[in-house]
Symmetry: C2
Subunit: 216 residues, 2 copies
Amino acid sequence: MDISGLKRRGLMYVLSSPSGAGKTTITRALLEKNADKMIISISATTRQQRASEVDGQDYYFSDIPEFNKMVEEGDMLEHAKVFDNYYGTPRAPVEKALSEGKDVIFDIDWQGTQQLREMARDDLVTVFILPPSARELENRLRNRSQNTLETDAQIRGRMSKSNDEMTHYSEYDYVLINQDIDKTITQAQMILDAERLKRRRLIGLSDFVRGVKEGR
Amino acid sequence: MDISGLKRRGLMYVLSSPSGAGKTTITRALLEKNADKMIISISATTRQQRASEVDGQDYYFSDIPEFNKMVEEGDMLEHAKVFDNYYGTPRAPVEKALSEGKDVIFDIDWQGTQQLREMARDDLVTVFILPPSARELENRLRNRSQNTLETDAQIRGRMSKSNDEMTHYSEYDYVLINQDIDKTITQAQMILDAERLKRRRLIGLSDFVRGVKEGR
């Protein structure tokens, strides 16, 4: 709520990056900084619910007929099949948040973003995060792999996948080079704050201007 | 100059507002804060040069045939006739600044902005500043008039002109309501900083990404 009854429509904030470029850290930082006015999008999936997972918090768990019905009826903003399981972004919770003036952050890849772009139009703000160098990307992937006992071949496979993902930077509105994580978080927050001031997201401007013209 | 030889193209930053909404103060503040990377656009005019004025600093002074030739050859980004004099924005100094990575700020009205929009396309970022209320707008116009001995009728005329100008807010990318001048300056700076991170303004990204892919 701004002065004079002015509200705004929330925006859909997409962060994509090759694996190892820092996207998850930035997403968490933004959610924390904007706790009262931002939610993270929760995916629907047809895969088996694990014991540790909460429906509606980790995922919306769904069966295949229900999932397909949502896709057919345009109730999924984007969806994909990974091995035998379906994943997708249900439209309703996103639309509810946006109309309440809350932003929705998406941690999705370029393929999901391409679909989202067609569905979301003006609500969408997309940011691509690049690593500062090949060496830094490799370091981050290697550090991460110390926990998971990955082989060199697996890491090279991940590097190669990252390289393919990286070529999609040119489809995004903004590009950040993540050399310093704090600086990158500040930039991601700044883009968010500026985008919130876009005229097309403000609700009640025409009434406000009419009020000023009529001497209020 | 960013890391890895990355440069950016400057942007054209238009601030418009009804008279009395604070545009001039905000423009000055931004020029001061961004002294090394922002210039103000200087207009060309066919009107008589005054003794106090410096050619190329206050205006580019021009005769009518020269001015018309520039318009015909597409060398004016926008132009208008006010009484018997022509005013316009020469393209060359703006293009030079943009290609050097400097931003150019424009203190022009909605009519100039409409023309600029057609010529500048992706380089343009437009911000409209609104007064917080009719009373505040009138106060500012009255305070200003104490120096110039304006009559009530003249002030009412200015209010009426401001009201007409205000209806053009809906053609701008961003809208700021200037209730607190410091906050509005911060917001105008934030929009500028975020817009500088737009992918389409960055130069050398494809080389940078190729470098990372090739292991540099």
